[in-house]
């Protein structure tokens, strides 16, 4: 033990390990980000945004390359002319898609006329497969607070868990630690939906706690937020039932739910700012 305190490298390592574990413990829940973290995040936000968009563009380029049907570009001169035309077309297509996405978000938001929203762009996603966290480009300066719900044109995305000055982190509903109180749209049965851990990109949801004698859940049923718990407003789409199963005891129904949001291609989201937990 005495050797431990006299060996400087070991002592520094032990202190660093303890400090990092303490930081990890305190940063695990919802919180307002401290100033050091805030400063780092704020300084690196433009680079982060650029890097994220660049990677999406590279992935999009290779995606287009493999999916192309225009295999008749043989002539070099024509190819050059076409390249310019293609670029214009891509720009237009990008604008059209953005327009469609934003219009979809606005249309969907219009169905919740009593809520206030703030649109934001996704500028980063969590590293690895273990947690599903998005970083978006609005924060405390724009009035964002922890636990605010986040949605997009297709449905519920998640809730804000960490807030910085001009950015925040959103824990997605597909994160395996998240549960959401839900309702089956057709039968009005209340249930819970939780994220299912998946190593592949197609993360899903699981519906549970639905008594067998009270439901006739079928594939294709739409699942929505129930508003119970006060975090998520009532009536936001979560997903669609894909497969219905009985649990081991046969007393309750579980179901695999496909999320209505495409988390892989999420670019813009809306943070619901004017929701005080009442429905």
């Amino acid at each position: 033990m005495k050797k431990l305190f006299t060996n400087k490298p070991i002592l520094i390592t032990v202190i660093a390990v303890v400090l990092l574990l303490v930081i990890a413990f305190f940063s695990a829940g919802s919180r307002t980000i401290p100033w050091v973290e805030n400063a780092v995040g704020t300084v690196l936000r433009p680079i982060q945004t650029f890097a994220f968009k660049a990677s999406n563009s590279i992935a999009g380029f290779f995606g287009n390359l493999f999916n192309t049907t225009e295999a008749d570009l043989e002539n070099a001169k024509l190819r050059q002319d076409l390249a310019m035309y293609e670029q214009d077309k891509l720009d237009l297509e990008e604008l059209r898609r953005e327009n469609e996405r934003l219009r979809g978000m606005l249309d969907y938001a219009g169905t919740f006329s009593d809520l206030e929203y703030m649109t934001a762009q996704v500028i980063g996603t969590s590293n690895g497969v273990w947690f599903d966290v998005l970083t978006i480009n609005v924060g405390r300066n724009q009035g964002i607070e922890t636990d605010m719900p986040v949605m997009c044109g297709n449905g519920l995305v998640g809730r804000v868990t960490d807030v910085g000055a001009g950015w925040c982190k959103v824990t997605a509903i597909i994160d395996s630690s998240v549960s959401v109180a839900a309702t089956v749209e057709r039968t009005r049965d209340n249930c819970m939906v939780r994220g299912v851990f998946s190593t592949s990109s197609s993360s899903g949801l699981e519906l549970y706690y639905l008594p067998t004698d009270l439901t006739d859940l079928v594939p294709g049923d739409v699942i929505m937020t129930s508003g119970i718990g006060g975090i998520y407003p009532k009536g936001i789409r979560i997903g669609t039932v894909e497969e219905v199963m009985l649990d081991r005891e046969g007393s309750s129904v579980n179901a695999i739910v496909a999320p209505s949001v495409d988390f892989l291609h999420l670019e813009e989201v809306m943070v619901i700012t004017g929701f005080g937990g009442e429905n």
Binding site: L20, S27, W130, T161, S176, T199
Partner: protein, 170 residues
């Protein structure tokens, strides 16, 4: 000049790990570039610089992208120290030591994160995760580690060692 090259390598690894491979991967399978760089630095530069690089890269990734701040920093710092155990104990052209260390660190890191996921309420199925993600990523990390190690030795460390040798001769 050499310092800038080291910084560039670290930045590229950080970008690949935290941005690029999140978008471009094979069904979630991806190499851990930060871990590879940190372990290679440990074997080639020593535990101190490697642990510091791992700590800095891990903390930055945690602050910018991850759910829990400190977890990646802890794992990468310890990986740097693990790589540093072999510093100047083997010939520098030994490829097995850094590759085996990186693979062992990756295996331990992913199990640590699996336990953390369970602590925070997740329910990953162990054998499914092991077969579909941990083992393929482990092999990919090992393969990429060999390439990165060769690149680092030829482009960054060989000129450094040459300088040291000239100094010693003088």
């Amino acid at each position: 000049m050499r310092k800038w090259l080291f910084a560039l390598v670290v930045l590229i690894a950080f970008y690949l790990d935290n941005v690029f491979f999140n978008v471009v991967n094979i069904l979630g399978v991806r190499p851990d570039m930060t871990l590879i760089i940190v372990v290679c630095f440990g074997v080639l530069l020593g535990p101190g610089p490697a642990a510091l690089t791992g700590l800095a890269m891990g903390l930055l990734a945690d602050v910018l992208f991850n759910k829990i701040v400190g977890l990646s920093a802890l794992v990468y710092m310890l990986s740097g120290m693990a790589g540093g155990i072999f510093y100047r104990k083997f010939f520098a052209d030994n490829l097995i030591i850094p590759t085996a260390t990186a693979m062992a660190c990756f295996f331990i890191k992913e199990h640590f994160l699996l336990v953390m996921t369970r602590i925070f309420g997740g329910r990953p199925a162990y054998f499914m995760t092991l077969a579909s993600y941990i083992l393929p990523s482990l092999l990919l990390t090992g393969g990429v580690c060999i390439l990165v190690n060769l690149f680092l030795r030829h482009n960054l460390f060989r000129p450094l060692w040459r300088k040291e040798a000239i100094k010693l001769e003088e």
